[in-house]
Each structure stands twice: as C-alpha cells, then as structure tokens.
Amino acid sequence: MRKETKTGMLGLALVIPSFLLLFVVVVIPIIASFRESLKNDSGGYDFSRYLFLFTDPGMRANLIFTLEITCVSVLIILLVSYALAVYMRFSSGALVVWIRRMYMIPIFIPGVIATYGLINLLGNHGWLSRLLLPLGVESLPRIIFDEKGIIIANCWFNIPFTTMLLSSALAGIPASVIESAKDVGAGRLQLFFRFILPLSYKTFLVAVTFVFMGVIGSFTAPFLLGPNAPQMLGVAMEQVFGVFQEREQAAAIAFFTFALCSFMGYFYIRSMVREETARR
C-alpha cells in the first residue's frame, strides 16, 4: 500500500510540470484570446465578432476558400503519401532506393525559399512554360496567384513528412502476416483492405490530423502564392491584425481556426482512448 502511494505520488509529480507548462503556454492564451474575441466595439461582450465571420461576404468567402483548400490538400497529400509509403514498403528495386533517398529533401528547404522556387517554376514566364514551349504548349493555365498554387505548395511541404509517418507504420506490419495471407490466397486488394489499411489505420488518423492542422494554419505559401481575395484564414488573420489593427476580430478568426483544429483533434483523441480501453 505504501509503495503504491509512493509511485502514485511520483507519477503525479512527473505529470504536474508538463501540465503546468501546458496550462501556461496553451490553455491561458486560448482563454485570453477567446475573451478578447468576445469584446465588441462599444466595450461590452457579445458574439458580434463571430457573427461578422459568417455574415460578411468577404470573410465568408475566406472561410469557404480555406476549408476547400484544406480538404483538397489533405486528400491529395494522403493519397500520394500512402501510395508512396506502400510502394516503398512492399516493393524493391533501384527506383525504391532512389525514392527512399530523395523524398525527404523538401523538408530541408526553408518555406520561403521553396515558395519563391515555385513562383519561378510555375509562374507565367517560369521554367515550366519555357520547357513546354518547344513542345507546342503556348500558354499554361494560371497556377500562381491561384488556389492551385497553394495546393501544390501544401503538397510540397506536407508529403515528405506524411510519407515518413506512414512508412514507419507500414514498417511495423510483420512480413509474416502478409506472407501467410498470401499463402492462403489473398489477392492484392484483399491484402490492402483487410490487413495493411487496418494495421496502419491509427497512424493514418495521426497523419490526417497533422496535415489538416498544418494546412489550415499555413501562411507563407498562401500569402505569396494565393489570390488577393478570397484569402486563406492565416493571411486574413494577418491582414486584420497587422494592417487593419482589429485585435478582437483577429482573435475571433484565431479562435475559430482553433475550434476547427480541435474538432479534428477530438476524433484523434477519441480513437486513442478507445485503443487504450480496448487494451485493458
């Protein structure tokens, strides 16, 4: 009994510092900015700032634009990353070796540099259009200063890390499972849907959460590559805070973004909790 109390106290003591840290740097700022976002023009408290988010045509366009970009980006990134990761895990050959060597390179290139690189590559008179000119392609569709540019940039920034995450999950699937399934005659699709997907499902969920949060809060690429209107929420937030100097409105956008992210986080945590209880 005594020993148990001791370990219990030790556990509590170990948790308290990280809890305090979390409280000071995360919980308090969130509460403070929520409070800030409730202030209206006359100094009272109401939901007028949030009402503005959903009623102002410009702001509403920003919201829809952001969600659209985020969903499309998440979908493309996960499809590509998953395909890459599965290919690297279950195939062999020179190509796989090269992919394995190269796919992490984008992580080491700073965001601003990569963004300017994309502008030079995909812009109106960029490298791509110059390379395609001899092939008879006269004009490219608009990629830069458009949502396509933002989505391409999101892919560039997120695919490497997501692939890494999924690769580690796939590496954890024992080869014996796959082989014995093959022995009893499972086809490729069956293998994928019955074994590979369920066994990497949890990491997949982690990846979705990470990509979603990373894309929805992104700033550099949308600022430099995106259209003037509608804007992504990160850019709109900067404009409202830095240029228009409306602190409360910016707080409302920030809190709304946080709410969206925590919505994603909820599913992630729920699945984790289920896993834990199932283990018991």
Binding site: K6, L10, A13, L14, P17, S18, L20, L21, V24, V25, P29, P57, G58, A61, I119, G123, N124, H125, R142, F145, F223, L224, P227, N228, A229, P230, Q239, G242, V243, F244, Q245
Partner: protein
C-alpha cells in the same frame, strides 16, 4: 532505496529543465513576436550596461525597420557618428520590414503604461502613421532647434505637420517604372495613365495596398483625385463619403490590370513582374528601382517617370520616446543625421530625397534633383489610410 534516490534525482533534473523551458515559453508569449523577443533581450542588456560606470560611453538603443538598404545606411552612418563622438555609442537594433514594427511600438507603449521608462528604446524610425498614433498616445518627445540646431535645415511646414514630434530624415517618392523597350510614350498624368492601362490590358500591375507603399500610393492618389486639393491633409472620417468615385474607378481598372485583377504582395512583388517582363508598367518606390537598376536585378531598359501631380510619397521619420533617459546623446545623433554631410550619404545610399531643404545641400546634389522633385506630394490622412485599405480589400480585391 537506491532506486528511489535515482528516480528522485531524475525527477529533480526533469523539473529543472521544465522550469527552464517554461521560462523561455513565457518570455515568448509576453512579447508577442519572435523578433520582438530577441530585440527585447538586446534592449535590456544595453540599458543595464550603460548604467554601470560613468567613464563608459553612453549607449542608446536605436530601433529601426525597413528593407536591407535601410540597414546598410545605418551601418554606414553610425560609425561616422561614433568616430566624432567617442563618448556616445549607438546600439542598432534592426527589425526587418514586415516582421516586428508593430511590436516595437507596442513595447514602447507597454513600458510607458508599466511605468518603466521607454522600454530601452531611445530612438525609433517609422512612417507617418506611427508618428500620428504616438501623437495621440503622447509618446514622443517634442524636438526643438535649441537642442538640435540642424533641425533648422528642415522644411518648417513638414515639422509643423508632425507637431515637432519627429524628424523627417529622408524621403522617397512613388514613381512610374516602365519598360522603355515596350512603352515609347509614358503617361504624364493620372488620366493618361488610366487610358494607358485600358489600352494595354494586363500590362500594368500595382501591389496590394495593404502590403506596400507603392500600391497604397496608387490607390490613394486615385481615390483623392476626385476630392478637393486640401483633402490630402485631412484625417476627418467624414471625407470617406467622397471616396466612392475613386473606388468605382479602381474597380473598373481591375479588369485591365495584370491577370485581370491580380495584385501581387509587397512592393517587390510588382518589381519582380516588371523584371520578368510580365508587365510593362508599375508604380514603385524610386529608391528601390534605382537600387535594383544599379545591382542589375532590373533590366537596363527600365525607366522612371514622375506624374504631375505626382503620386504621394513621404518622409520616413525618427522619433524620440518621451520617457527615454538618454535624450542628450540622441539629440547629438539627430543633429548629426541632419547635417548636409550625412544627408549626402543618405541621398547616395538610398537614392531618395534628403530630409533637409535642398538649398542646404551641396550644389552637386541640388543639381541632380532638378526636375524630379517637382511633382512630389506628401499625403497626411492619418488613420484613414487603414480604412482605404479595408475598403479596397472588400470593394476591389473581392469584387
């Protein structure tokens, strides 16, 4: 027992590292920005070191913001000043443009509210909006010719406009930059310019006015074209009702500008388009164009033209926080900055206009400015600039 000791030692170590971590986090959180945090420690160390011995030179902290060329300028001027005044040291704190100018003002304001002097900031450089904001909040020291004799070289009207709270130490103008290979007959007035834009669809671009002065100047010049002459010196919100005609014009021009309504971010955004040949004409800061011509990043065919009446440009100001405790040293520095000698360097380095009257400048510089400074106008519309940007975002960008 031994195991318990080990684990408690481990716990202690963990706690220690966490406390250190949380201290870092707290500091970042309170100063509101990454650059401000590093500037904060720099400012703090300067004030503590100067408080030491009397024999040590007085060191004051000079916060400034802008593009790389502004940093170059102060890196040249400061050693010259220090050589002449061995008892004064200038601590330069450079905040790259667009990252931390607002936090710097907030820091001065916060230090004032907390009763902690000027927060280690003894001299600050920024544009007119910050001067007027500080005027309202009573942040800046009133300057006089008795403390800074060379202030007499500055145009009196400009000093009156800012209530003697700031020194306009240099000016730049927004001009039209164009590709002379494509444009033979550059427009000379605003109306000719609008005509040109309509006749040459997608060959003109101006940057998003909330991200850079060149685009903002184009927008303001267009909006105030339809207003009485003296409206550019008024910050009365009632004037906003008369903006409609200007915004209607901007909205209409949207179809003819680059990409049928693409407004690149920052002053550099349009310069990049001009350099790559995607457009033929842009409004730009004269100092940026001249510098980039010199460095070869803009093609040789790029030419400049000032409209008449001109786009609004404006001086950049130096302000002394009222609660600074090193004003004597700062005054000496300001006096040096306003000498014809220092101003000549500013003109050469920044390709801008001098802050002092041209008649006080050396003859060679007076000659080089013949004809260029004619159309130069200064707008002083205070907070209305923000409202213009806001309305531009909803009326023109999101049309």
């Amino acid at each position: 027992m031994l195991r318990l000791k080990k684990s408690s030692a481990l716990l202690f170590l963990l706690m220690l590292s966490l406390v250190a971590l949380s201290a870092c986090g707290g500091k970042n959180g309170s100063s509101g920005g990454n650059t401000a945090a590093s500037g904060g420690s720099a400012g703090a160390s300067s004030s503590s070191s100067s408080g030491g011995a009397a024999a040590k030179p007085v060191e004051f902290a000079f916060y400034f913001t802008g593009s790389e060329n502004v940093k170059d300028l102060w890196d040249t001027l400061t050693p010259m000043f220090e050589a002449k005044n061995p008892d004064i040291k200038v601590k330069l704190v450079y905040i790259p443009s667009g990252t931390g100018a607002q936090p710097t003002y907030d820091r001065i304001a916060a230090a004032k509210q907390a009763g902690k002097g000027s927060g280690g900031i003894d001299l600050y450089e920024d544009g007119l909006p910050t001067v007027t904001k500080g005027q309202k909040d009573d942040m800046w020291d009133t300057l006089s010719t008795s403390a800074i004799p060379n202030l007499a070289n500055v145009d009196e009207q400009t000093m009156k406009d800012v209530g003697y709270l700031a020194v306009p130490y240099r000016s730049s103008a927004v001009i039209l930059a164009y590709n002379s290979d494509k444009v033979k007959d550059a427009p000379g007035t605003l109306d000719e310019l609008y005509d040109w834009i309509r006749k040459h669809p997608e060959r003109f671009a101006y940057n998003d006015p909330s991200t850079g002065g060149a685009g903002s100047s184009f927008v303001q010049s267009t909006v105030y074209k339809f207003l009485p002459e003296d409206a550019i010196h008024s910050s009365d919100p009632a004037i906003e009702k008369q903006w409609d005609q200007g915004f209607a014009l901007l909205k209409d021009l949207g179809k003819y500008v680059y990409g049928k309504g693409i407004y690149p971010k920052k002053n550099q955004g349009t310069l990049d388009l001009l350099a790559s040949g995607e457009v033929d004409m842009i409004p730009a800061w004269s100092d940026m164009v001249l510098q980039q011509l010199e460095e070869g990043t803009l093609p040789k065919s790029t030419k400049l033209k000032q409209l008449s009446p001109g786009f609004n440009g404006g001086p950049t100001y130096l302000m002394v926080p009222k609660l600074s405790d090193k004003k004597e040293a700062v005054y000496k520095f300001l006096d040096f900055v306003m000498t014809p000698e220092a101003q000549s360097i500013i003109v050469q380095k920044m390709h801008g206009f001098p802050g002092i009257k041209l008649s006080s400048m050396p003859q060679s510089i007076q000659d080089s400015f013949q004809g260029v400074s004619d159309g130069f106008r200064t707008f002083n519309i205070g907070d209305l600039g923000t409202d213009i940007n806001k309305r531009w975002q909803s009326d023109v960008a999101a049309q």
